[in-house]
Amino acid sequence: MVNAWIAIGALALVAVIIPLSMMLISSLLRPSVPEQGKRATYESGEVPTGSSRHIQFNIQYYMVALLFVVFDIETVFIFPWAVIYGDAVGEVGLVRALVPMLVFIGILVVGLAWAWRNGAVEWVRSPRAESQRVDRDI
Protein backbone atom coordinates (compact mmCIF):
# COMPACT_ATOMS: atom_id res chain seq x y z
CA MET A 1 0.00 0.00 0.00
CA VAL A 2 1.62 3.22 -1.17
CA ASN A 3 0.42 6.38 0.55
CA ALA A 4 -1.58 8.47 -1.95
CA TRP A 5 0.12 11.70 -0.87
CA ILE A 6 3.61 10.26 -1.43
CA ALA A 7 2.52 9.50 -5.01
CA ILE A 8 1.07 13.00 -5.43
CA GLY A 9 4.25 14.51 -3.99
CA ALA A 10 6.27 12.43 -6.46
CA LEU A 11 4.24 13.83 -9.36
CA ALA A 12 4.73 17.35 -7.96
CA LEU A 13 8.48 16.67 -8.03
CA VAL A 14 8.33 15.36 -11.60
CA ALA A 15 6.12 18.30 -12.63
CA VAL A 16 8.80 20.72 -11.37
CA ILE A 17 11.74 18.77 -12.82
CA ILE A 18 10.24 18.69 -16.34
CA PRO A 19 10.12 22.52 -16.77
CA LEU A 20 13.51 22.90 -15.08
CA SER A 21 15.16 20.39 -17.41
CA MET A 22 13.60 22.11 -20.41
CA MET A 23 15.04 25.41 -19.16
CA LEU A 24 18.44 23.75 -18.76
CA ILE A 25 18.40 22.29 -22.29
CA SER A 26 17.30 25.63 -23.68
CA SER A 27 20.04 27.53 -21.82
CA LEU A 28 22.61 25.23 -23.43
CA LEU A 29 21.16 25.65 -26.93
CA ARG A 30 20.11 29.26 -27.21
CA PRO A 31 22.21 32.22 -28.32
CA SER A 32 22.46 35.51 -26.46
CA VAL A 33 22.84 38.56 -28.68
CA PRO A 34 22.14 41.67 -26.59
CA GLU A 35 21.21 44.60 -28.77
CA GLN A 36 20.00 48.13 -28.22
CA GLY A 37 16.22 48.29 -28.14
CA LYS A 38 15.65 44.57 -28.09
CA ARG A 39 14.50 44.62 -24.49
CA ALA A 40 11.76 47.21 -24.97
CA THR A 41 8.31 45.79 -24.19
CA TYR A 42 6.11 45.15 -27.20
CA GLU A 43 3.43 47.71 -27.86
CA SER A 44 2.61 47.10 -31.48
CA GLY A 45 5.54 49.20 -32.69
CA GLU A 46 4.97 52.25 -30.47
CA VAL A 47 7.69 53.28 -28.03
CA PRO A 48 6.32 52.29 -24.63
CA THR A 49 5.67 55.16 -22.24
CA GLY A 50 5.42 54.84 -18.48
CA SER A 51 5.19 51.73 -16.39
CA SER A 52 2.44 49.21 -16.95
CA ARG A 53 1.91 48.94 -13.19
CA HIS A 54 0.55 52.45 -12.83
CA ILE A 55 -2.16 52.25 -15.45
CA GLN A 56 -5.77 52.70 -14.42
CA PHE A 57 -8.15 49.85 -14.96
CA ASN A 58 -11.83 49.19 -14.52
CA ILE A 59 -13.06 48.95 -10.91
CA GLN A 60 -15.34 46.13 -12.05
CA TYR A 61 -12.50 43.61 -11.85
CA TYR A 62 -12.40 44.31 -8.12
CA MET A 63 -16.17 44.01 -7.62
CA VAL A 64 -16.26 40.64 -9.36
CA ALA A 65 -13.36 39.38 -7.25
CA LEU A 66 -15.18 40.40 -4.05
CA LEU A 67 -18.28 38.55 -5.15
CA PHE A 68 -16.15 35.51 -5.95
CA VAL A 69 -14.73 35.27 -2.43
CA VAL A 70 -18.25 34.92 -1.00
CA PHE A 71 -19.31 32.20 -3.41
CA ASP A 72 -16.03 30.35 -3.24
CA ILE A 73 -16.24 29.98 0.54
CA GLU A 74 -19.81 28.85 0.07
CA THR A 75 -18.77 26.03 -2.29
CA VAL A 76 -16.31 24.87 0.37
CA PHE A 77 -19.30 24.40 2.71
CA ILE A 78 -21.33 22.63 0.03
CA PHE A 79 -18.55 20.06 -0.57
CA PRO A 80 -18.99 17.99 2.64
CA TRP A 81 -22.78 18.27 2.42
CA ALA A 82 -22.79 16.89 -1.15
CA VAL A 83 -20.67 13.90 -0.09
CA ILE A 84 -22.89 12.75 2.81
CA TYR A 85 -26.22 13.91 1.35
CA GLY A 86 -27.29 10.52 -0.07
CA ASP A 87 -26.67 8.72 3.23
CA ALA A 88 -28.13 11.55 5.29
CA VAL A 89 -31.46 11.33 3.46
CA GLY A 90 -31.65 7.67 4.45
CA GLU A 91 -30.82 8.38 8.10
CA VAL A 92 -32.62 11.59 9.05
CA GLY A 93 -35.09 11.98 6.19
CA LEU A 94 -35.31 14.27 3.19
CA VAL A 95 -36.46 17.40 5.02
CA ARG A 96 -33.69 17.49 7.63
CA ALA A 97 -30.99 16.73 5.05
CA LEU A 98 -32.12 19.16 2.39
CA VAL A 99 -33.80 22.17 4.02
CA PRO A 100 -30.79 23.57 5.95
CA MET A 101 -28.75 23.60 2.73
CA LEU A 102 -31.66 25.18 0.83
CA VAL A 103 -31.77 27.96 3.45
CA PHE A 104 -27.99 28.41 3.17
CA ILE A 105 -28.08 28.58 -0.63
CA GLY A 106 -31.20 30.77 -0.41
CA ILE A 107 -29.35 33.41 1.64
CA LEU A 108 -26.58 33.49 -0.95
CA VAL A 109 -29.01 33.70 -3.82
CA VAL A 110 -30.65 36.68 -2.12
CA GLY A 111 -27.14 38.15 -1.87
CA LEU A 112 -26.58 37.56 -5.56
CA ALA A 113 -29.96 39.12 -6.37
CA TRP A 114 -29.00 42.18 -4.31
CA ALA A 115 -25.62 42.46 -6.06
CA TRP A 116 -27.38 42.02 -9.41
CA ARG A 117 -29.95 44.74 -8.66
CA ASN A 118 -27.25 47.15 -7.52
CA GLY A 119 -25.20 46.58 -10.65
CA ALA A 120 -22.22 44.72 -9.15
CA VAL A 121 -22.32 42.23 -12.00
CA GLU A 122 -23.03 44.93 -14.58
CA TRP A 123 -19.97 45.95 -16.58
CA VAL A 124 -19.30 49.63 -15.80
CA ARG A 125 -18.18 51.64 -18.80
CA SER A 126 -15.96 54.64 -18.32
CA PRO A 127 -17.53 58.02 -19.31
CA ARG A 128 -15.00 58.16 -22.13
CA ALA A 129 -16.02 54.77 -23.50
CA GLU A 130 -19.67 55.77 -23.14
CA SER A 131 -19.17 58.97 -25.14
CA GLN A 132 -17.48 57.04 -27.95
CA ARG A 133 -20.20 54.45 -28.10
CA VAL A 134 -21.87 53.90 -31.44
CA ASP A 135 -25.30 52.30 -31.52
CA ARG A 136 -25.88 50.42 -34.68
CA ASP A 137 -29.25 49.43 -36.03
CA ILE A 138 -28.92 46.03 -37.56
Binding site: A4, S52, F79, Y85, G86, W123
Partner: protein, 349 residues
Protein backbone atom coordinates in the same frame (compact mmCIF):
# COMPACT_ATOMS: atom_id res chain seq x y z
CA UNK B 1 -4.30 -1.18 -6.89
CA UNK B 2 -2.71 2.02 -8.12
CA UNK B 3 0.27 2.39 -10.43
CA UNK B 4 2.94 2.96 -7.71
CA UNK B 5 1.65 -0.10 -5.83
CA UNK B 6 2.04 -2.22 -8.95
CA UNK B 7 5.58 -0.93 -9.36
CA UNK B 8 6.38 -1.40 -5.65
CA UNK B 9 5.32 -5.04 -6.01
CA UNK B 10 8.01 -5.59 -8.66
CA UNK B 11 10.77 -3.52 -7.01
CA UNK B 12 13.32 -5.37 -4.84
CA UNK B 13 13.28 -2.49 -2.27
CA UNK B 14 10.79 -2.56 0.59
CA UNK B 15 9.60 -0.08 3.20
CA UNK B 16 9.22 3.67 2.79
CA UNK B 17 12.22 3.92 0.42
CA UNK B 18 10.57 1.44 -1.91
CA UNK B 19 7.31 3.40 -1.72
CA UNK B 20 9.05 6.64 -2.66
CA UNK B 21 11.02 5.09 -5.52
CA UNK B 22 7.88 3.40 -6.87
CA UNK B 23 5.94 6.67 -6.57
CA UNK B 24 8.62 8.62 -8.47
CA UNK B 25 8.76 5.99 -11.24
CA UNK B 26 4.97 6.01 -11.50
CA UNK B 27 4.90 9.81 -11.55
CA UNK B 28 7.56 9.87 -14.28
CA UNK B 29 5.41 7.49 -16.38
CA UNK B 30 2.27 9.62 -15.94
CA UNK B 31 4.25 12.80 -16.65
CA UNK B 32 5.75 11.30 -19.80
CA UNK B 33 2.34 10.15 -21.06
CA UNK B 34 0.86 13.62 -20.66
CA UNK B 35 3.92 15.31 -22.19
CA UNK B 36 3.69 12.99 -25.20
CA UNK B 37 0.01 13.81 -25.64
CA UNK B 38 0.78 17.51 -25.43
CA UNK B 39 3.70 17.22 -27.86
CA UNK B 40 1.39 15.60 -30.40
CA UNK B 41 -1.42 18.07 -29.72
CA UNK B 42 0.47 21.38 -29.70
CA UNK B 43 2.71 21.49 -32.75
CA UNK B 44 0.88 18.91 -34.90
CA UNK B 45 -2.74 17.99 -34.10
CA UNK B 46 -3.80 21.57 -33.36
CA UNK B 47 -2.49 22.75 -36.74
CA UNK B 48 -4.04 19.81 -38.57
CA UNK B 49 -7.42 20.34 -36.88
CA UNK B 50 -7.46 24.10 -37.49
CA UNK B 51 -6.45 23.52 -41.10
CA UNK B 52 -9.23 20.99 -41.57
CA UNK B 53 -11.78 23.44 -40.17
CA UNK B 54 -10.60 26.27 -42.40
CA UNK B 55 -10.15 24.09 -45.51
CA UNK B 56 -6.39 24.39 -45.75
CA UNK B 57 -3.44 22.00 -45.76
CA UNK B 58 -1.29 22.11 -42.63
CA UNK B 59 2.17 20.73 -41.84
CA UNK B 60 2.86 17.97 -44.39
CA UNK B 61 6.51 18.33 -45.41
CA UNK B 62 8.49 17.10 -42.40
CA UNK B 63 8.20 13.34 -42.02
CA UNK B 64 5.10 11.14 -42.53
CA UNK B 65 1.92 13.29 -42.24
CA UNK B 66 4.21 16.06 -41.06
CA UNK B 67 4.66 14.31 -37.73
CA UNK B 68 8.33 15.17 -37.42
CA UNK B 69 7.32 18.83 -37.08
CA UNK B 70 7.05 17.95 -33.37
CA UNK B 71 10.82 17.39 -33.19
CA UNK B 72 11.58 20.33 -35.45
CA UNK B 73 9.40 22.68 -33.43
CA UNK B 74 10.82 21.51 -30.11
CA UNK B 75 14.39 22.17 -31.26
CA UNK B 76 13.43 25.46 -32.92
CA UNK B 77 11.60 26.87 -29.91
CA UNK B 78 14.11 25.70 -27.29
CA UNK B 79 17.03 27.20 -29.24
CA UNK B 80 15.43 30.66 -29.54
CA UNK B 81 17.05 33.55 -27.73
CA UNK B 82 15.42 34.36 -24.41
CA UNK B 83 14.70 38.09 -24.41
CA UNK B 84 14.10 39.52 -20.95
CA UNK B 85 12.17 42.77 -21.37
CA UNK B 86 13.05 45.92 -19.44
CA UNK B 87 11.53 46.31 -15.98
CA UNK B 88 10.11 42.80 -15.55
CA UNK B 89 9.46 41.69 -12.00
CA UNK B 90 12.14 39.04 -12.02
CA UNK B 91 11.24 36.13 -9.75
CA UNK B 92 7.56 36.33 -10.64
CA UNK B 93 8.24 36.64 -14.36
CA UNK B 94 10.41 33.49 -14.30
CA UNK B 95 8.09 31.55 -12.02
CA UNK B 96 4.85 32.13 -13.98
CA UNK B 97 5.64 29.67 -16.83
CA UNK B 98 6.68 27.08 -14.27
CA UNK B 99 3.51 27.53 -12.23
CA UNK B 100 1.40 27.12 -15.38
CA UNK B 101 3.17 23.99 -16.60
CA UNK B 102 3.64 22.29 -13.21
CA UNK B 103 0.15 22.84 -11.84
CA UNK B 104 -1.51 21.43 -14.95
CA UNK B 105 0.70 18.32 -14.84
CA UNK B 106 0.11 17.80 -11.11
CA UNK B 107 -3.65 17.59 -11.65
CA UNK B 108 -3.26 14.19 -13.32
CA UNK B 109 -2.15 12.61 -10.03
CA UNK B 110 -5.67 11.54 -9.06
CA UNK B 111 -7.22 10.88 -12.50
CA UNK B 112 -8.19 7.23 -13.05
CA UNK B 113 -6.72 6.50 -16.46
CA UNK B 114 -7.92 2.92 -16.71
CA UNK B 115 -5.81 -0.16 -17.05
CA UNK B 116 -3.58 -1.42 -19.83
CA UNK B 117 -1.68 -4.75 -19.78
CA UNK B 118 -3.31 -5.42 -16.40
CA UNK B 119 -1.79 -2.33 -14.76
CA UNK B 120 -4.10 0.34 -13.36
CA UNK B 121 -2.69 3.67 -14.59
CA UNK B 122 -4.00 5.76 -11.68
CA UNK B 123 -1.17 7.34 -9.70
CA UNK B 124 -3.01 8.08 -6.44
CA UNK B 125 -6.52 7.60 -5.16
CA UNK B 126 -7.07 9.78 -2.07
CA UNK B 127 -10.56 10.18 -0.63
CA UNK B 128 -10.53 13.89 -1.50
CA UNK B 129 -9.53 13.27 -5.13
CA UNK B 130 -12.09 15.50 -6.83
CA UNK B 131 -11.52 18.42 -4.43
CA UNK B 132 -7.77 18.07 -5.05
CA UNK B 133 -8.07 18.16 -8.82
CA UNK B 134 -10.40 21.20 -8.75
CA UNK B 135 -7.96 22.99 -6.44
CA UNK B 136 -4.92 22.19 -8.59
CA UNK B 137 -6.70 23.11 -11.84
CA UNK B 138 -7.41 26.61 -10.52
CA UNK B 139 -3.79 27.27 -9.51
CA UNK B 140 -3.21 28.10 -13.18
CA UNK B 141 -5.05 31.43 -12.62
CA UNK B 142 -2.24 32.40 -10.25
CA UNK B 143 0.31 31.78 -13.00
CA UNK B 144 -1.70 33.95 -15.39
CA UNK B 145 -1.79 36.82 -12.88
CA UNK B 146 1.95 36.53 -12.25
CA UNK B 147 2.68 36.54 -15.97
CA UNK B 148 0.36 39.47 -16.60
CA UNK B 149 1.62 41.63 -13.76
CA UNK B 150 5.34 40.85 -13.97
CA UNK B 151 5.76 41.39 -17.71
CA UNK B 152 5.68 45.21 -17.45
CA UNK B 153 3.56 45.31 -20.58
CA UNK B 154 0.15 46.95 -20.77
CA UNK B 155 -1.29 44.22 -22.96
CA UNK B 156 -0.02 41.57 -20.56
CA UNK B 157 -1.52 43.44 -17.62
CA UNK B 158 -4.92 43.65 -19.30
CA UNK B 159 -4.69 40.00 -20.28
CA UNK B 160 -3.90 39.05 -16.68
CA UNK B 161 -6.88 41.05 -15.39
CA UNK B 162 -9.19 39.50 -17.94
CA UNK B 163 -7.89 36.03 -17.07
CA UNK B 164 -8.77 36.60 -13.40
CA UNK B 165 -12.22 38.00 -14.15
CA UNK B 166 -12.94 35.05 -16.44
CA UNK B 167 -11.65 32.32 -14.16
CA UNK B 168 -13.48 33.81 -11.17
CA UNK B 169 -16.75 34.00 -13.08
CA UNK B 170 -16.60 30.39 -14.28
CA UNK B 171 -14.92 28.64 -11.36
CA UNK B 172 -18.08 28.60 -9.21
CA UNK B 173 -20.41 27.14 -11.90
CA UNK B 174 -17.70 24.57 -12.67
CA UNK B 175 -17.33 23.39 -9.08
CA UNK B 176 -21.06 23.54 -8.33
CA UNK B 177 -21.85 21.43 -11.38
CA UNK B 178 -19.13 18.98 -10.37
CA UNK B 179 -20.75 18.81 -6.94
CA UNK B 180 -24.08 17.80 -8.44
CA UNK B 181 -22.27 14.67 -9.62
CA UNK B 182 -20.86 14.16 -6.12
CA UNK B 183 -24.45 14.13 -4.81
CA UNK B 184 -25.18 11.18 -7.10
CA UNK B 185 -21.95 9.34 -6.35
CA UNK B 186 -21.77 10.17 -2.63
CA UNK B 187 -17.97 10.40 -2.67
CA UNK B 188 -15.06 12.58 -3.80
CA UNK B 189 -12.81 9.59 -4.52
CA UNK B 190 -12.28 9.54 -8.29
CA UNK B 191 -12.20 5.74 -8.61
CA UNK B 192 -15.50 5.51 -6.71
CA UNK B 193 -17.09 8.16 -8.95
CA UNK B 194 -16.07 6.08 -11.97
CA UNK B 195 -17.40 2.90 -10.32
CA UNK B 196 -20.74 4.62 -9.64
CA UNK B 197 -21.13 5.08 -13.41
CA UNK B 198 -20.61 1.45 -14.35
CA UNK B 199 -24.22 0.25 -13.92
CA UNK B 200 -26.64 0.02 -16.81
CA UNK B 201 -29.02 2.96 -17.06
CA UNK B 202 -31.42 1.60 -19.70
CA UNK B 203 -31.29 -1.13 -22.32
CA UNK B 204 -32.29 -0.03 -25.81
CA UNK B 205 -32.84 -3.01 -28.08
CA UNK B 206 -30.06 -5.06 -26.50
CA UNK B 207 -27.71 -2.06 -26.41
CA UNK B 208 -26.93 -1.25 -22.77
CA UNK B 209 -26.55 2.47 -22.07
CA UNK B 210 -24.25 2.86 -19.03
CA UNK B 211 -25.25 5.25 -16.26
CA UNK B 212 -22.60 7.81 -17.15
CA UNK B 213 -23.49 11.07 -15.47
CA UNK B 214 -23.54 12.72 -18.91
CA UNK B 215 -26.61 10.54 -19.62
CA UNK B 216 -28.07 10.74 -16.12
CA UNK B 217 -27.81 14.52 -15.99
CA UNK B 218 -27.16 15.91 -19.50
CA UNK B 219 -27.96 19.45 -18.31
CA UNK B 220 -25.06 19.38 -15.84
CA UNK B 221 -22.82 17.93 -18.56
CA UNK B 222 -23.51 20.83 -20.94
CA UNK B 223 -22.95 23.38 -18.15
CA UNK B 224 -19.69 21.75 -17.14
CA UNK B 225 -18.33 21.53 -20.69
CA UNK B 226 -19.12 25.23 -21.22
CA UNK B 227 -17.55 26.30 -17.92
CA UNK B 228 -14.54 24.16 -18.81
CA UNK B 229 -14.10 26.05 -22.10
CA UNK B 230 -13.85 29.24 -20.05
CA UNK B 231 -11.53 27.59 -17.56
CA UNK B 232 -9.02 26.62 -20.27
CA UNK B 233 -9.55 29.92 -22.11
CA UNK B 234 -10.72 28.76 -25.51
CA UNK B 235 -13.35 30.37 -27.75
CA UNK B 236 -15.84 31.77 -27.09
CA UNK B 237 -13.99 32.55 -23.87
CA UNK B 238 -10.50 33.39 -25.10
CA UNK B 239 -10.49 37.06 -24.10
CA UNK B 240 -7.41 36.72 -21.84
CA UNK B 241 -5.35 36.12 -24.99
CA UNK B 242 -7.54 37.78 -27.63
CA UNK B 243 -4.83 38.08 -30.32
CA UNK B 244 -6.79 40.66 -32.29
CA UNK B 245 -7.28 42.96 -29.28
CA UNK B 246 -4.38 42.69 -26.86
CA UNK B 247 -1.62 40.97 -28.92
CA UNK B 248 -1.36 37.77 -26.88
CA UNK B 249 -2.44 38.90 -23.42
CA UNK B 250 -0.33 37.62 -20.57
CA UNK B 251 2.11 35.77 -22.83
CA UNK B 252 3.09 38.75 -25.00
CA UNK B 253 6.55 39.18 -23.47
CA UNK B 254 7.53 35.53 -23.25
CA UNK B 255 9.95 33.99 -25.72
CA UNK B 256 12.04 30.85 -26.07
CA UNK B 257 11.63 28.18 -23.40
CA UNK B 258 9.23 30.31 -21.33
CA UNK B 259 6.87 30.52 -24.28
CA UNK B 260 7.11 26.74 -24.66
CA UNK B 261 6.28 26.26 -20.99
CA UNK B 262 3.24 28.55 -21.12
CA UNK B 263 2.03 26.85 -24.28
CA UNK B 264 2.65 23.43 -22.75
CA UNK B 265 0.80 24.43 -19.59
CA UNK B 266 -2.19 25.55 -21.64
CA UNK B 267 -2.39 22.30 -23.57
CA UNK B 268 -1.89 20.11 -20.51
CA UNK B 269 -4.65 22.17 -18.89
CA UNK B 270 -6.99 21.42 -21.80
CA UNK B 271 -6.22 17.71 -21.37
CA UNK B 272 -6.72 18.03 -17.61
CA UNK B 273 -10.13 19.57 -18.27
CA UNK B 274 -10.86 16.67 -20.61
CA UNK B 275 -9.72 14.20 -17.97
CA UNK B 276 -12.03 15.76 -15.36
CA UNK B 277 -14.94 15.67 -17.82
CA UNK B 278 -14.15 12.04 -18.68
CA UNK B 279 -13.91 11.05 -15.01
CA UNK B 280 -17.07 12.65 -13.67
CA UNK B 281 -19.33 12.58 -16.73
CA UNK B 282 -18.12 10.01 -19.27
CA UNK B 283 -17.55 6.98 -17.07
CA UNK B 284 -13.79 7.52 -16.77
CA UNK B 285 -11.90 4.85 -18.70
CA UNK B 286 -14.99 2.67 -19.27
CA UNK B 287 -15.74 1.41 -22.77
CA UNK B 288 -16.23 -1.76 -24.77
CA UNK B 289 -13.56 -4.01 -26.38
CA UNK B 290 -10.50 -1.73 -26.14
CA UNK B 291 -8.45 -1.47 -22.90
CA UNK B 292 -9.57 1.25 -20.47
CA UNK B 293 -6.46 3.35 -20.95
CA UNK B 294 -7.12 3.63 -24.70
CA UNK B 295 -10.71 4.71 -23.99
CA UNK B 296 -9.41 7.32 -21.56
CA UNK B 297 -7.11 8.72 -24.26
CA UNK B 298 -9.98 8.71 -26.79
CA UNK B 299 -12.17 10.66 -24.36
CA UNK B 300 -9.59 13.34 -23.50
CA UNK B 301 -8.78 13.72 -27.20
CA UNK B 302 -12.49 14.07 -27.95
CA UNK B 303 -12.67 16.97 -25.49
CA UNK B 304 -9.50 18.44 -27.04
CA UNK B 305 -11.11 18.20 -30.48
CA UNK B 306 -14.20 19.93 -29.08
CA UNK B 307 -12.15 22.86 -27.72
CA UNK B 308 -10.40 23.22 -31.08
CA UNK B 309 -13.74 23.04 -32.86
CA UNK B 310 -15.10 25.80 -30.63
CA UNK B 311 -11.92 27.78 -31.28
CA UNK B 312 -12.47 27.56 -35.03
CA UNK B 313 -16.22 28.02 -35.09
CA UNK B 314 -17.39 30.37 -32.32
CA UNK B 315 -16.67 34.11 -32.14
CA UNK B 316 -15.19 35.63 -29.00
CA UNK B 317 -17.45 37.25 -26.39
CA UNK B 318 -16.75 40.73 -25.00
CA UNK B 319 -15.70 41.20 -21.37
CA UNK B 320 -19.10 42.62 -20.36
CA UNK B 321 -20.87 39.71 -22.07
CA UNK B 322 -18.49 37.32 -20.35
CA UNK B 323 -19.33 38.69 -16.90
CA UNK B 324 -23.03 38.63 -17.77
CA UNK B 325 -22.98 35.02 -19.00
CA UNK B 326 -20.91 33.90 -16.02
CA UNK B 327 -22.57 35.65 -13.10
CA UNK B 328 -26.14 36.02 -14.37
CA UNK B 329 -26.48 32.93 -16.53
CA UNK B 330 -24.23 30.05 -15.60
CA UNK B 331 -24.12 30.72 -11.85
CA UNK B 332 -27.91 30.76 -11.56
CA UNK B 333 -28.21 27.66 -13.76
CA UNK B 334 -25.54 25.88 -11.72
CA UNK B 335 -27.43 26.62 -8.49
CA UNK B 336 -30.69 25.46 -10.07
CA UNK B 337 -28.98 22.28 -11.22
CA UNK B 338 -27.52 21.62 -7.77
CA UNK B 339 -30.81 22.14 -5.93
CA UNK B 340 -32.83 20.11 -8.46
CA UNK B 341 -30.31 17.27 -8.33
CA UNK B 342 -30.45 17.26 -4.54
CA UNK B 343 -34.28 17.17 -4.57
CA UNK B 344 -34.43 14.37 -7.16
CA UNK B 345 -31.76 12.28 -5.43
CA UNK B 346 -33.48 12.87 -2.09
CA UNK B 347 -36.89 11.78 -3.38
CA UNK B 348 -35.50 8.64 -5.09
CA UNK B 349 -33.25 7.63 -2.15
Amino acid sequence: MTLPEAIAGVLPIGGVAGEIVAAVIGAAIIGTIMLTNTAVAGPWAKRKITAAFTDRIAVNRVGPFGLLIIVADAVRLLSKELIVPEGVDRPAWDLAPMVLASSALLGFAVIPMGSIFGVNMQLADPETGLAFVFAIASVASLGLVMAGYASNNKYSFLGGLRAVAQNLAYEIPLVLTGLSVVIFAGTLQTSEIVAAQSETLVSLGGLAIPSWFAFVNPFAFVLFVLANLAEVGRNPFDIPEAPTEIVAGYQTEYSSVYFVLIYLGEFVHIFLGGAIIATIFLGGPAGPVLPGFIWFLIKIWAVFLFTQWARSAVPRVRIDQLIEIGWKGMLVLAFANLVLTAVIVGVIA
